[in-house]
Assembly symmetry: C2
């Protein structure tokens, strides 16, 4: 939509870079989809053919045995399809729209899991769903984001606590990041490891419970956990749909808690992994721009400084640290930067100056969690970063 | 998980505030779910009872007419359920796992729509899905976020262009935000209106196409559009599943484009609406803290300055603007702030100083899109804002 627009609040180089990143990611995703489609088609097609053939044989056999015409059977099955859409199963499933069932349903709506084990069939239900989902999905998105915020704060707390117990290692770390811009913040790697371990443990534990309670195989239960926690929610396997369970109330609560924590964990994990994807795209973009520059030097290609890969940034940061040498040296992020390596040395000392100024003005040391503005915005991606940075709040602006 | 942890990189007041916001939102969501469950249960339960009763009658009638035992019919229907899970429909659905079908499937995986019209049935397919989905969902999340970024940049471009054509109004706006911190950025209201209008137009247009192509009623098609674009994806209605369409190739492309743009639009809309939800939660929190303060003054409640609602912030911003008066006055965001009204006047002039310093150091005017650091972090919510602000990039940190 706005793929080729320049925002105008930035140089044309930055806009080109942003557009190029967006388009490159889109192209890579298209390739990923094509590759995935080929693999799934190869894996699943034989099974589908087999299942269809088996069904045709069974249908014909049943008709022959009971002397039923194909049309009569088709009419009967059409009625069954209609009933199945309203929640009927051969082996007595629980009611869909009693209060616990409806609660499960709205939970799958606001989390966008959408199993589809129950779907509104009335006009009123469908209309209400649209309004209800709009507010509910937005609020749940906010909830997930606040969860992620709390989680990273917790991880920061733990890593600092661990660092404080090993003062030798901590001093070594301090020497590497003397300006405090990144001090006390967990790295992407640490958060990824923590989240990955938590998600894996949760999936494995939940799968064991589901396998026991639902009578699924362990692999099926694991597959259900991933599909549900990632909010894909096919609905081929849905927990809690049988008419009776041992310890029904407890199982319902456990199911709710597991789904909630699983969805929160996998949402956070996806967000952290997407940082790595972004870095990979930036790296590819830097490589492509570098190759284009070497091939098309003097032919009006994009200027090299607008497409810097992590490797080049790293050397820029090192250069800044060496040039500055004082406590003002700071880590630069690995994100794609615009003009950054040009101005790195200036900005490094500026950051120290700003810090001193801020402390002088407020009469107390500045909060460690407040990064320098350029550090923050070099990675200006993402739903909230984008909006916080680029929107004037209406509540103050009116 | 980390709900009660203080990050330690911030005062205890800020941590309390963050925890309170998270817990309040969780409580409000629980109420929202309970209310929604009650409404859906009331709306849908009669229809479910009716459908079950009708099915029981039809089942009994069919058995009587053709002299079939209930057990024989149940066995037959169990076979049909098995076949239906593999994609068989009474009225010849298209193959699920040919290449276009598999492409549609992987599209619903990475976008987390997950209709479930086709689901992997083999062990290999299920295992591959977990790895494929993990990377695919993360990349698509990044794609949505970059789309949102491009979209807001485009809207900023359009609003500035409109402002430039009406110089009188623009001068008036400038006078209201002289520091340039929010100048040229579209407000949440403008983005919400633009996105809401775009989503509505897209849903209505797409519904007209789907209603014509699939033979659904218009309301059903509209309901399908919302369920698909919001990535809920129940799977009760799925486009493109019939064996034949007029202009099949064109319809497939249109279906893909509509789903892609619809999902991007609604994801962006949810994010913008969640800003409003956050403001509402902050307002409620401020009210609650204010009431608690009045009731429990001197009983060790949380200090009032750590729980400021938008109303109070607005007056603080006005006070700062009056106290400063120069071009250094800047809008404060409507977000909940910590220590902000205490230090507002100091920070307002500090922001101007920092800007001058930055321009002096870099030899050119600072980019308008770079906000002052405290403005950025007053609204430190959200997946990416959180991570950009709180994580040290490993690529630079190693």
């Amino acid at each position: 939509m706005a793929g080729r627009d320049c925002g105008g609040d930035c140089g044309p180089g930055r806009a080109n870079e942003d557009n190029a990143r967006f388009l490159l990611l889109g192209a890579l995703l298209a390739l990923y989809l094509l590759g995935g489609a080929a693999v799934f088609s190869a894996l699943e097609r034989p099974h589908e053919r087999q299942a269809r053939q088996r069904w045709e044989e069974r249908l014909a056999g049943f008709g022959r045995r009971h002397n039923l015409s194909r049309d009569a059977l088709r009419g009967f099955l059409r009625h069954f399809e209609e009933a199945a859409a309203a929640g009927v199963r051969v082996d007595g499933a629980r009611p869909r729209w009693d209060f616990p069932g409806a609660f499960y349903f709205v939970g799958t709506v606001v989390s966008t899991i959408g199993f589809g084990m129950a779907t509104p069939a009335t006009v009123g239900g469908k209309v209400f769903l649209i309004g209800y989902g709009l507010l509910g999905c937005s609020s749940t998105l906010l909830f997930f984001n606040l969860f992620l915020e709390r989680l990273i704060t917790g991880i920061a707390h733990v890593t600092r606590w661990c660092g404080a117990r090993r003062p030798g290692r901590r001093a070594g770390r301090r020497a590497r990041s003397p300006a405090g811009g990144a001090a006390g913040k967990p790295s992407v790697r640490v958060v990824l490891l923590a989240l990955g371990a938590a998600s894996l443990a949760l999936c494995c534990g939940a799968a064991a419970l589901y396998a026991a309670a639902e009578g699924w195989g362990y692999l099926d239960a694991l597959y259900f956990c991933f599909v549900a926690f990632s909010t894909i929610g096919f609905g081929d396997l849905v927990s809690g749909q049988q008419a009776r369970y041992d310890g029904q109330g407890l199982y319902r609560v456990a199911n709710f808690v597991l789904l909630l924590s699983g969805v929160c964990c996998l949402y956070s994990l996806f967000n952290v992994v997407s940082i790595l994807v972004r870095q990979a795209v930036n790296w590819a973009l830097g490589r492509a721009a570098g190759a284009g520059c070497r091939r098309g030097r003097g032919r009006g290609g994009p200027p090299r400084r607008n497409a810097v890969g992590p490797g080049r940034v790293r050397s820029g940061a090192r250069g800044a640290a060496e040039a500055d040498g004082s406590s003002g040296a700071r880590r630069l992020s690995g994100e794609m930067v615009s003009m950054k390596d040009l101005l790195a040395a200036n900005k490094a000392s500026l950051a120290a100056l700003q810090k001193q100024l801020s402390e002088a003005a407020s009469g107390r040391p500045r909060r460690a969690s407040t990064p320098p503005a350029d550090d923050e915005f070099s990675g200006g991606v993402g739903a909230f970063a984008v909006m916080n940075g680029r929107l004037a709040e209406t509540s103050a602006g009116r």
